[in-house]
Symmetry: C2
Subunit: 138 residues, 2 copies
DNA sequence: CAATTATATCGCAATATACGATATAATTAA
DNA sequence: TTAATTATATCGTATATTGCGATATAATTG
Protein backbone atom coordinates (compact mmCIF):
# COMPACT_ATOMS: atom_id res chain seq x y z
CA UNK A 1 0.00 0.00 0.00
CA UNK A 2 1.38 3.39 -0.98
CA UNK A 3 1.57 6.51 1.13
CA UNK A 4 -1.02 8.11 -1.16
CA UNK A 5 -3.43 5.25 -0.58
CA UNK A 6 -3.00 5.44 3.16
CA UNK A 7 -3.60 9.19 2.99
CA UNK A 8 -6.75 8.65 0.97
CA UNK A 9 -8.04 6.19 3.56
CA UNK A 10 -7.38 8.77 6.26
CA UNK A 11 -9.26 11.40 4.30
CA UNK A 12 -12.20 9.12 3.57
CA UNK A 13 -12.49 8.20 7.23
CA UNK A 14 -12.81 11.89 8.05
CA UNK A 15 -15.29 12.47 5.27
CA UNK A 16 -17.60 9.70 6.45
CA UNK A 17 -17.34 10.31 10.16
CA UNK A 18 -17.12 14.07 10.51
CA UNK A 19 -19.76 16.24 12.20
CA UNK A 20 -22.15 17.50 9.60
CA UNK A 21 -23.95 20.15 11.64
CA UNK A 22 -21.70 22.99 12.82
CA UNK A 23 -22.10 26.35 14.47
CA UNK A 24 -21.50 29.38 12.38
CA UNK A 25 -18.05 30.16 13.63
CA UNK A 26 -15.73 32.35 11.63
CA UNK A 27 -12.70 30.86 9.97
CA UNK A 28 -10.15 32.56 12.19
CA UNK A 29 -12.18 31.76 15.30
CA UNK A 30 -11.96 28.06 14.49
CA UNK A 31 -8.23 28.28 13.97
CA UNK A 32 -7.75 30.07 17.29
CA UNK A 33 -9.82 27.56 19.21
CA UNK A 34 -7.89 24.74 17.57
CA UNK A 35 -4.57 26.28 18.54
CA UNK A 36 -5.69 26.68 22.15
CA UNK A 37 -6.93 23.11 22.22
CA UNK A 38 -3.81 21.53 20.82
CA UNK A 39 -1.17 23.48 22.71
CA UNK A 40 -0.34 24.41 26.27
CA UNK A 41 -0.20 27.91 27.73
CA UNK A 42 -1.21 29.72 24.56
CA UNK A 43 -0.47 33.45 24.78
CA UNK A 44 -1.85 36.16 22.54
CA UNK A 45 1.50 36.32 20.79
CA UNK A 46 1.23 32.62 19.93
CA UNK A 47 -2.18 33.26 18.38
CA UNK A 48 -0.67 36.07 16.32
CA UNK A 49 2.08 33.74 15.09
CA UNK A 50 -0.26 30.85 14.41
CA UNK A 51 -2.60 33.03 12.36
CA UNK A 52 0.22 34.98 10.74
CA UNK A 53 -1.23 38.34 11.82
CA UNK A 54 -0.11 41.26 13.96
CA UNK A 55 -0.43 41.11 17.73
CA UNK A 56 -3.12 43.77 17.78
CA UNK A 57 -5.24 41.77 15.34
CA UNK A 58 -4.77 38.69 17.46
CA UNK A 59 -5.82 40.60 20.55
CA UNK A 60 -9.00 41.73 18.83
CA UNK A 61 -9.87 38.20 17.74
CA UNK A 62 -9.25 36.93 21.27
CA UNK A 63 -11.45 39.67 22.72
CA UNK A 64 -14.34 38.66 20.52
CA UNK A 65 -14.02 34.99 21.45
CA UNK A 66 -14.04 35.93 25.13
CA UNK A 67 -17.16 38.03 24.64
CA UNK A 68 -18.88 35.10 22.93
CA UNK A 69 -17.96 32.80 25.77
CA UNK A 70 -15.63 30.43 23.96
CA UNK A 71 -12.45 31.21 25.89
CA UNK A 72 -11.17 32.71 29.13
CA UNK A 73 -8.07 34.67 29.95
CA UNK A 74 -5.67 33.75 32.73
CA UNK A 75 -2.81 35.98 33.81
CA UNK A 76 0.47 34.12 33.59
CA UNK A 77 2.13 33.98 37.01
CA UNK A 78 5.61 33.73 35.49
CA UNK A 79 5.21 37.07 33.68
CA UNK A 80 2.24 39.19 34.53
CA UNK A 81 2.25 41.04 31.26
CA UNK A 82 1.26 37.80 29.62
CA UNK A 83 -2.09 36.13 29.57
CA UNK A 84 -2.78 32.61 28.46
CA UNK A 85 -6.05 31.42 27.03
CA UNK A 86 -8.28 28.55 28.01
CA UNK A 87 -11.29 27.02 26.33
CA UNK A 88 -14.63 27.21 28.11
CA UNK A 89 -17.00 24.25 28.02
CA UNK A 90 -18.71 25.96 25.12
CA UNK A 91 -15.42 26.51 23.35
CA UNK A 92 -14.38 22.91 23.80
CA UNK A 93 -17.65 21.53 22.49
CA UNK A 94 -17.49 23.81 19.48
CA UNK A 95 -13.90 23.18 18.51
CA UNK A 96 -14.47 19.44 18.74
CA UNK A 97 -17.19 19.75 16.14
CA UNK A 98 -14.85 21.49 13.76
CA UNK A 99 -11.93 19.18 14.33
CA UNK A 100 -12.86 15.71 15.42
CA UNK A 101 -14.83 12.73 14.29
CA UNK A 102 -18.45 12.47 15.35
CA UNK A 103 -18.19 10.07 18.26
CA UNK A 104 -21.71 8.80 17.80
CA UNK A 105 -20.82 7.74 14.27
CA UNK A 106 -17.46 6.32 15.35
CA UNK A 107 -19.22 4.25 18.00
CA UNK A 108 -21.68 2.86 15.47
CA UNK A 109 -18.84 1.78 13.21
CA UNK A 110 -16.73 0.23 15.95
CA UNK A 111 -19.65 -1.65 17.49
CA UNK A 112 -20.43 -3.24 14.15
CA UNK A 113 -16.93 -4.72 13.96
CA UNK A 114 -15.50 -7.83 15.59
CA UNK A 115 -13.36 -7.43 18.69
CA UNK A 116 -10.35 -8.51 16.69
CA UNK A 117 -10.92 -5.85 14.07
CA UNK A 118 -11.49 -3.21 16.72
CA UNK A 119 -8.16 -4.10 18.26
CA UNK A 120 -6.39 -3.85 14.91
CA UNK A 121 -7.79 -0.38 14.38
CA UNK A 122 -6.83 0.71 17.87
CA UNK A 123 -3.35 -0.71 17.55
CA UNK A 124 -2.86 0.97 14.19
CA UNK A 125 -3.94 4.35 15.51
CA UNK A 126 -1.80 4.03 18.61
CA UNK A 127 1.29 3.07 16.62
CA UNK A 128 0.89 5.87 14.11
CA UNK A 129 0.13 8.55 16.69
CA UNK A 130 3.06 7.57 18.86
CA UNK A 131 5.52 7.54 16.01
CA UNK A 132 4.17 10.78 14.54
CA UNK A 133 4.72 12.51 17.89
CA UNK A 134 8.17 11.00 18.10
CA UNK A 135 9.12 12.35 14.67
CA UNK A 136 7.44 15.72 14.67
CA UNK A 137 6.42 16.92 18.10
CA UNK A 138 7.77 20.42 18.86
CA UNK B 1 -9.84 1.89 24.71
CA UNK B 2 -12.75 4.28 24.64
CA UNK B 3 -14.26 6.02 21.63
CA UNK B 4 -12.98 9.34 23.01
CA UNK B 5 -9.45 8.02 23.22
CA UNK B 6 -9.58 6.71 19.68
CA UNK B 7 -10.89 10.09 18.53
CA UNK B 8 -8.08 11.86 20.31
CA UNK B 9 -5.52 9.65 18.61
CA UNK B 10 -7.10 10.51 15.27
CA UNK B 11 -6.93 14.20 16.06
CA UNK B 12 -3.34 14.03 17.25
CA UNK B 13 -2.31 12.21 14.09
CA UNK B 14 -3.77 15.06 12.06
CA UNK B 15 -2.13 17.67 14.24
CA UNK B 16 1.32 16.17 13.85
CA UNK B 17 1.13 15.30 10.18
CA UNK B 18 -0.85 18.11 8.62
CA UNK B 19 0.54 20.57 6.08
CA UNK B 20 1.77 23.64 7.86
CA UNK B 21 2.23 25.97 4.92
CA UNK B 22 -0.98 26.74 3.07
CA UNK B 23 -2.11 29.12 0.35
CA UNK B 24 -4.27 31.98 1.36
CA UNK B 25 -7.54 30.55 0.25
CA UNK B 26 -10.81 31.85 1.62
CA UNK B 27 -12.85 29.72 3.97
CA UNK B 28 -15.72 29.12 1.56
CA UNK B 29 -13.30 28.43 -1.28
CA UNK B 30 -11.75 25.58 0.71
CA UNK B 31 -15.14 24.13 1.48
CA UNK B 32 -16.15 24.25 -2.17
CA UNK B 33 -12.96 22.57 -3.35
CA UNK B 34 -13.41 19.91 -0.68
CA UNK B 35 -16.98 19.23 -1.80
CA UNK B 36 -15.88 18.88 -5.41
CA UNK B 37 -13.07 16.56 -4.42
CA UNK B 38 -15.14 14.24 -2.28
CA UNK B 39 -18.23 13.91 -4.46
CA UNK B 40 -19.11 13.08 -8.03
CA UNK B 41 -20.82 15.35 -10.55
CA UNK B 42 -21.05 18.37 -8.26
CA UNK B 43 -23.49 20.95 -9.65
CA UNK B 44 -23.79 24.57 -8.58
CA UNK B 45 -26.95 23.68 -6.68
CA UNK B 46 -24.98 21.11 -4.66
CA UNK B 47 -22.46 23.77 -3.74
CA UNK B 48 -25.32 26.01 -2.61
CA UNK B 49 -26.69 23.22 -0.42
CA UNK B 50 -23.29 22.23 0.96
CA UNK B 51 -22.49 25.81 1.95
CA UNK B 52 -26.03 26.58 3.07
CA UNK B 53 -26.29 29.62 0.80
CA UNK B 54 -28.51 30.71 -2.08
CA UNK B 55 -27.83 29.50 -5.59
CA UNK B 56 -26.77 32.97 -6.77
CA UNK B 57 -24.17 33.18 -4.01
CA UNK B 58 -22.90 29.74 -4.93
CA UNK B 59 -22.66 30.76 -8.57
CA UNK B 60 -20.57 33.77 -7.61
CA UNK B 61 -18.21 31.70 -5.52
CA UNK B 62 -17.83 29.20 -8.35
CA UNK B 63 -17.12 31.99 -10.83
CA UNK B 64 -14.28 33.29 -8.70
CA UNK B 65 -12.71 29.85 -8.32
CA UNK B 66 -12.84 29.38 -12.08
CA UNK B 67 -11.16 32.77 -12.61
CA UNK B 68 -8.41 31.80 -10.19
CA UNK B 69 -7.84 28.51 -12.03
CA UNK B 70 -8.88 26.10 -9.29
CA UNK B 71 -11.87 24.54 -11.06
CA UNK B 72 -13.43 24.04 -14.47
CA UNK B 73 -17.02 23.87 -15.61
CA UNK B 74 -18.43 21.05 -17.69
CA UNK B 75 -21.90 21.13 -19.19
CA UNK B 76 -23.88 18.12 -18.04
CA UNK B 77 -24.95 16.07 -21.08
CA UNK B 78 -27.98 14.69 -19.25
CA UNK B 79 -29.42 18.18 -18.70
CA UNK B 80 -27.74 21.07 -20.47
CA UNK B 81 -28.94 23.65 -18.01
CA UNK B 82 -26.68 22.05 -15.47
CA UNK B 83 -22.95 22.31 -15.18
CA UNK B 84 -20.75 20.17 -13.02
CA UNK B 85 -17.45 21.24 -11.58
CA UNK B 86 -14.04 19.67 -11.77
CA UNK B 87 -10.81 20.45 -9.99
CA UNK B 88 -7.85 21.61 -12.03
CA UNK B 89 -4.37 20.40 -11.18
CA UNK B 90 -3.95 23.59 -9.19
CA UNK B 91 -7.23 23.02 -7.41
CA UNK B 92 -6.35 19.47 -6.53
CA UNK B 93 -2.95 20.38 -5.15
CA UNK B 94 -4.45 23.15 -3.07
CA UNK B 95 -7.36 21.23 -1.61
CA UNK B 96 -5.03 18.40 -0.64
CA UNK B 97 -3.03 20.84 1.44
CA UNK B 98 -6.13 21.91 3.30
CA UNK B 99 -7.49 18.45 3.80
CA UNK B 100 -4.90 15.71 3.85
CA UNK B 101 -1.84 14.66 5.73
CA UNK B 102 1.51 15.84 4.48
CA UNK B 103 2.72 12.82 2.59
CA UNK B 104 6.35 13.63 3.12
CA UNK B 105 5.77 13.55 6.87
CA UNK B 106 3.65 10.40 6.64
CA UNK B 107 6.41 8.70 4.68
CA UNK B 108 9.01 9.63 7.29
CA UNK B 109 6.87 8.12 10.03
CA UNK B 110 6.02 4.93 8.16
CA UNK B 111 9.61 4.32 7.08
CA UNK B 112 10.75 4.51 10.68
CA UNK B 113 8.42 1.69 11.68
CA UNK B 114 8.84 -2.07 11.30
CA UNK B 115 7.07 -3.81 8.44
CA UNK B 116 4.82 -5.48 10.96
CA UNK B 117 3.77 -2.18 12.48
CA UNK B 118 3.22 -0.66 9.06
CA UNK B 119 0.90 -3.51 8.22
CA UNK B 120 -1.04 -3.07 11.42
CA UNK B 121 -1.58 0.61 10.64
CA UNK B 122 -2.63 -0.15 7.08
CA UNK B 123 -4.98 -2.89 8.16
CA UNK B 124 -6.55 -0.64 10.80
CA UNK B 125 -7.14 2.18 8.35
CA UNK B 126 -8.56 -0.16 5.74
CA UNK B 127 -10.96 -1.77 8.19
CA UNK B 128 -12.20 1.52 9.60
CA UNK B 129 -12.61 3.18 6.22
CA UNK B 130 -14.47 0.27 4.76
CA UNK B 131 -16.87 -0.04 7.67
CA UNK B 132 -17.40 3.72 7.85
CA UNK B 133 -18.41 3.76 4.19
CA UNK B 134 -20.68 0.81 4.78
CA UNK B 135 -22.47 2.53 7.65
CA UNK B 136 -22.66 6.10 6.39
CA UNK B 137 -22.07 6.42 2.66
CA UNK B 138 -24.90 8.29 0.97
C1' DC C 1 15.77 55.03 35.37
C1' DA C 2 15.32 53.98 30.38
C1' DA C 3 14.30 50.63 27.07
C1' DT C 4 11.88 46.71 25.79
C1' DT C 5 8.10 43.55 25.86
C1' DA C 6 3.09 41.86 26.06
C1' DT C 7 -1.30 43.02 25.51
C1' DA C 8 -5.38 46.18 24.82
C1' DT C 9 -7.95 49.79 22.39
C1' DC C 10 -9.28 52.78 18.60
C1' DG C 11 -10.05 54.43 13.96
C1' DC C 12 -9.89 53.18 9.41
C1' DA C 13 -9.87 50.38 5.19
C1' DA C 14 -9.94 46.21 2.31
C1' DT C 15 -11.81 41.79 1.48
C1' DA C 16 -15.15 38.12 2.06
C1' DT C 17 -19.72 36.86 2.13
C1' DA C 18 -24.54 36.97 1.23
C1' DC C 19 -28.94 38.08 -1.03
C1' DG C 20 -32.85 40.07 -3.93
C1' DA C 21 -33.87 41.22 -8.49
C1' DT C 22 -33.31 40.13 -13.02
C1' DA C 23 -31.94 37.58 -17.23
C1' DT C 24 -31.06 33.59 -20.32
C1' DA C 25 -31.53 29.00 -21.67
C1' DA C 26 -33.04 24.27 -21.09
C1' DT C 27 -36.50 21.12 -19.54
C1' DT C 28 -41.08 19.67 -18.27
C1' DA C 29 -46.08 19.95 -18.10
C1' DA C 30 -50.38 21.26 -20.03
C1' DT D 1 -47.14 24.52 -29.25
C1' DT D 2 -47.18 27.32 -25.26
C1' DA D 3 -46.71 28.14 -20.41
C1' DA D 4 -44.50 27.00 -16.28
C1' DT D 5 -40.56 25.44 -13.97
C1' DT D 6 -35.72 24.70 -13.29
C1' DA D 7 -30.51 25.67 -13.36
C1' DT D 8 -27.29 28.92 -13.62
C1' DA D 9 -25.33 33.67 -14.41
C1' DT D 10 -25.08 38.64 -13.58
C1' DC D 11 -25.72 42.97 -11.15
C1' DG D 12 -26.30 46.19 -7.38
C1' DT D 13 -26.26 46.53 -2.61
C1' DA D 14 -25.27 45.65 2.23
C1' DT D 15 -23.17 43.40 6.19
C1' DA D 16 -19.54 40.74 8.39
C1' DT D 17 -14.86 39.53 8.76
C1' DT D 18 -10.28 40.57 8.71
C1' DG D 19 -6.24 43.25 9.14
C1' DC D 20 -3.15 47.09 10.44
C1' DG D 21 -0.97 51.53 12.17
C1' DA D 22 -1.07 54.47 15.98
C1' DT D 23 -1.41 54.81 20.66
C1' DA D 24 -1.73 53.49 25.58
C1' DT D 25 -0.83 50.88 29.90
C1' DA D 26 1.64 47.82 32.65
C1' DA D 27 5.28 44.49 33.54
C1' DT D 28 9.96 43.09 32.85
C1' DT D 29 14.77 43.65 31.69
C1' DG D 30 19.20 46.11 31.03
Amino acid sequence: MSIQQLNELYMNIYHQLRFTYQDKLTHQAVRILQTIRMEEKVHVSRIAAALGVSHNTASEHVKRLIQKGYILKQRDAADERKVYLQLTERGTTTVKQHTELDEGKLAVVMQSLSLEDQETIQAGFRLLEKQARKCFSS
